[in-house]
Symmetry: C2
Amino acid sequence: MKPTVHDIAKIAGVSLATVDRVLNGRPGVREITRGRVEEAISTLGYVRDLAAANLAKSRTYAFTFIIPANDNSFMIGLAEEVRGAIARSSAERTDIRIIEVPPFDTEALVCALDEVVESRPAGAAFVAIDTPEVRAAAKRLQAAGIPVVTLVSDLPDSGRDHYAGIDNIAAGRTAAGLMGRFLSGRKAKIAVLAGSMLVRDHRERLEGFSAVLGSSFPDLDILPVLEGRDDPALAETALAEAFASHPDIAGIYSLGAGNRGLIRAVQARRERPVVIAHELTASTRAALIDGTIDAVLNQDAGHEVRSAIRVLKAKADGLPVIAAQERIRIDIFLKDNLP
Amino acid sequence: MKPTVHDIAKIAGVSLATVDRVLNGRPGVREITRGRVEEAISTLGYVRDLAAANLAKSRTYAFTFIIPANDNSFMIGLAEEVRGAIARSSAERTDIRIIEVPPFDTEALVCALDEVVESRPAGAAFVAIDTPEVRAAAKRLQAAGIPVVTLVSDLPDSGRDHYAGIDNIAAGRTAAGLMGRFLSGRKAKIAVLAGSMLVRDHRERLEGFSAVLGSSFPDLDILPVLEGRDDPALAETALAEAFASHPDIAGIYSLGAGNRGLIRAVQARRERPVVIAHELTASTRAALIDGTIDAVLNQDAGHEVRSAIRVLKAKADGLPVIAAQERIRIDIFLKDNLP
DNA sequence: CAATTTCTGAGGTACGTAAATCAGAAATCT
DNA sequence: AGATTTCTGATTTACGTACCTCAGAAATTG
């Protein structure tokens, strides 16, 4: 039988109230008595029954998610997943609030983060922008004792407790590995289309991509990065111009969103380059099937949201997380293994 | 505030005991009264608080896992993950028992399954062998009202409630897609090394691989399948013989275990073929790094075990499962994205 | 109409923990 | 020494559900 607080009280020769004070760090216990209780706890191997504790506290976990109001499929899907979690909130004892902020807007994000500090939830998750202001705001959150999880895009050295997202350097390296093998030995130019170098995930993908291409496939040259701000129209014109000035582009790595524009630009061309993109959406899926895109690297927004919630709960309770369970995987989709 | 049984009793104008009888399907309630209670339940939108219910029942979920006592890294890792779940059992209210059976042994598996029927746990998971006897035994389990989950290798038409494993046809198709692109346009022979055609996962991988190779890469010819019974020594000799009789082998798809033998055979040869294997282990990882293996398709045993437990719990409680959460993904590892 | 059988309500205890109240003991201060 | 403050223990209630007992009401049977 699992030991309970009653057993501790019996063994330590104290009352339930004293055990409760020790367990919950409340004052009013002599050092000697506290020692006796703690000894009883460790000899019995007592672990608090979280379900019973939450029931007694009638606890609900108040969490806040800050997500950019981007209109690309991925961010829309991410918001959708958070709403799905809200729908399950009664069963999971959570009370999740969403704050939407304009995309790539440091000021708005900082403002939202400070609002979170005010409302003092049991935890917060947000899609980071990598600027000093945001980092400072994240530190304020952390200093207020609120567990913080970054979502999709990380923010190191900000005191965040956890990052729920893929390893973007590895993603970039993978893209490079596939690109190199798919072009096997050809000498060619590679175009890279990014959203913004302001977000860390895009920067890291580029970093990983360049590193592997440089070391393992020296015959492939990367052209200056095109910034499309995750906007289909901007992406299309940027790419069209690149095609015009570099007719020998044989590969494209699209490491951001706004792939509808990329697809239109590629389809308007005679020779098909090898195209590797991120995020499986309706348009990239169609492009995979018709051969416009060769491979899609994907992160599962649902997994990221559920993982963020699990981690926030664990942090709120001061519990460890199962690291292997919370590692978000990079899915690689070819047209042959579309789900 | 979330509605409770007390609210139902008040609204329906009955006592707590009657509400309890209706909720738990106990006898002793007139049809008319039952109707009134059920109406109150639906108008209030009552959902039973599982944590409180489990606490009151002091319920633990007794689950049985049947796993083959294979000595390859993957199965050892799988057993390890189940033991990890046992270590967490007190916090998760589970009581998991492991039954080990000899690998590829229908009779032993059937015997174990029937033993499970006797012990009547709240759920069972097993690595299936695809034979009529096993299918019949699985049906007996299901008929006994015990939720059944197949693990790693599926068994359709057996009444199993869920399959916790990857889509092996998609895995085979992916391997073929990578193989075809890596060999881009070359005319060559492909060797396939399997464990046993008795397990469904191996059969399905071959099926997917053959289908895509045949339709998309007609220049690549598949040689007759080599069976290595997941044994390194057998795999090595089988492959060495294949090399001897077919000097033009340019690609190898190893869809089972026992890759240590495969690696030795490949390294003993002058020309390096394109090699795609399954399961990331110490040896396949080393082979990826030194270039002996080009890609590894992996399934995460930890995810499979945790998913199986979540699903068994849900089934035991008659709850729905989040399908997207329980889809086990195929990880693709190149040397560039090793974790 | 009496004797049953079948419903239903009232009330309680339990699960393991949290948290509040109150009273007595010990230590500190005046 | 008496008053005050600080500890400590005992006891109780609560969280939401399960499950048990018992008694009385209603319906059914002979």
